[in-house]
Amino acid sequence: MTEPVVSLRGVRADLGSRPVLRGIDLTVHRGEVVALLGANGSGKSTAVRSVIGQVQTGAGAIELFGTDRRRFRDWHRVGYVPQRTTAAGGVPATVTEVVSSGRLSRARFGVLRKADHAAVRRALDLVGMADRAKDSVDALSGGQHQRVLIARALACEPELLIMDEPMAGVDLASQEVLAHTLTEQVSQGTTVLLVLHELGPLEPLIDRAVVLRDGCVVHDGPPPKAVGQHALPGHDHVHPHAPAGAEPIRTGLLS
C-alpha cells in the first residue's frame, strides 16, 4: 500500500463534557474515495473537522500526508468544502472573489498572479459556473452556492479533497454536476474524504465506506449496498430540496 494521505489513530474528542469521538481509526490511501456515513450526531462531521484542525482532539494521532497535523504546513495540497448552505458573507461578493480566496494557499503574501487567476477560472469551469463568474453570490440558488464552495476548494488544485455533506440542500441538477466534477477529479488521481448522509448519486464513485455510530467506527469496508442506504444505523432521510440560503449559525453581538 502507498503512504496514507489521511490517518487517524485512536482519536478522541469532546464537545463540552460530551464525548463525540471515542477512539476513531480511519485511514485514507492515495487515490481512494472514502465516504464517512452515519446518523446525525454520530460524530462524522467532528471527525473530518478534527483532520483539518478545527476541532481540538483529546487523544490519538492525526497525520496528513505522513506529517503530524500540528506540524502540517502544506495546506495547498488540501481542498476543503465546509458544511454550509451559503457562500455569502455580510458584504456582497462575486463568485470569482469567493473562489479566489481558495487560491491563497498557493499565493505568496496574498498576491494573485496570472497563473492563479487562470486556476480560479479553471475551477469555475469544472463546476459549470464560469458564466456566473461576475455575479454576486447572493443571487445564486442553493445548489449553485455549493458549486461555488467546491470551486473554491478546487482552486488550489488539491491532492486531497475533504468535503462535509456537499450534497445537503442541493437540487438534482446541481447534484449531477457535482457528481460529474468529482468523477473527473478522481480520474486525475485526487484522493477524496467526504461526509455523506446518504450515498445518493455519488455511489458509483465510492471505494470504501466508514460508518460511525456514537463516536465509534461500526463498519469499514465496501459501501453498504446490500443492506441499502436506508438500513444504515439510525438513518433519517434528508431531502435535497431542504431550505437553502439560510444564514450561517452565528449568534450574539460579536460571536
Binding site: G89, V91, P92, A93, T94, E97, S101, S136
Partner: protein, 300 residues
Amino acid sequence: MDFLDYAFMQRALLAAVLVGITAPAVGIYLVQRRQALMGDGIGHVAMTGVGLGFLLTWSPVWMATLVSVLGAVLMELIRWYGKTRGDIALAMLFYGGMAGGVMFINLAPTGSNANLTSYLFGSLSTVSQSDVTAICVLAAFVVLVTLGLRRQLFAVSQDEEFARVTGLPVRVLNLLTAVTAAVTVTVAMRVVGLLLVSALMVVPVAAAQQIARSFAATFVIAVAIGVSVTIGGTVTSYYQDVPPGATIVLLTLGAFIALTALAAPLARRRARARAAADGATDPGDCTIPGSRRAADEVGV
C-alpha cells in the same frame, strides 16, 4: 472657499478626509464578519483611555489608542474562549470602559465633563497640530493593513473555518482586524466622536451594498461615501454652526436612504437583462423560468 484660509479648518478637513477613508475601510471587514457593532464597543472602551490621558496629563489620543487596542485584543480573546458566556463578558467590558472614562476624567485636575463631551461627539475646531500628526500616522497604518492584506482579510471574514484550511494565520489576522478597528476608532474620535464612530464604519458600507455586487466595488463606493460625507459635514458645520459629528452621521444615513431608493429599479433592470440573456440562449423555455428568475432577484 474662504474656510480654507483658517488653519483650524485645514486641520479639521485633513482629519475628516482621513476618517472618511479609514472608517469604512475597516468597517467593511467588520460588516462582513457580522460584527457591525464592534466599533461601538471599542468606542466605549476608548473612553477610559481618554480619561486616563487627562488624569496622567498624557495625550488623550495616544492613551485612547493604547487602551482601545488592549480592549479590542481582549474582545477577540473573549470571542475565542468565551463561547456562550462571551456576550455577557463583552457587555461588562463596554460598561466598564464607559464608567472608567467618566470616573478618570472627573478625578483629573484639568478634566471636566465638558472635555469628555468633545471626545464623545467630536469637536473639529479643537483638533490640535499634534492630534493631526497622530491621526496621520494611525490612518497610514489602517490603510496599509486594510488594502495590503485585503485578500487575506476577505478570506478570514468570509469564512473563518475555510481560511484556516488555506493555511492563513487566522488568529493573527483576527487580532490584526481588531487592532486596526481600535486604531480607526481613535482616528475618528476627534471628528465624529466616540459614540458615533461606529456609524461611519457601518453605514457607508451598508449604503454601498445597496448598489454593489462585488466586494471590491463595495469597498470603493463605501470609501467614496465616507470621504464625501466627512468633507460635507465639516464644511456644513463651519457655515451653519452645527455639531460636525452629528451632521456627518445624518449625511451618511441620507446617502444610505438615497442609494436604497436607487437600488430597487437597478435590481429590476439587472434581473430583466439576466432573463433576456437566458431567453436568447434557450428559446425553448422563455416564459416561466424567465419571469421566475426576475422575481427572484428583485428582493436582493
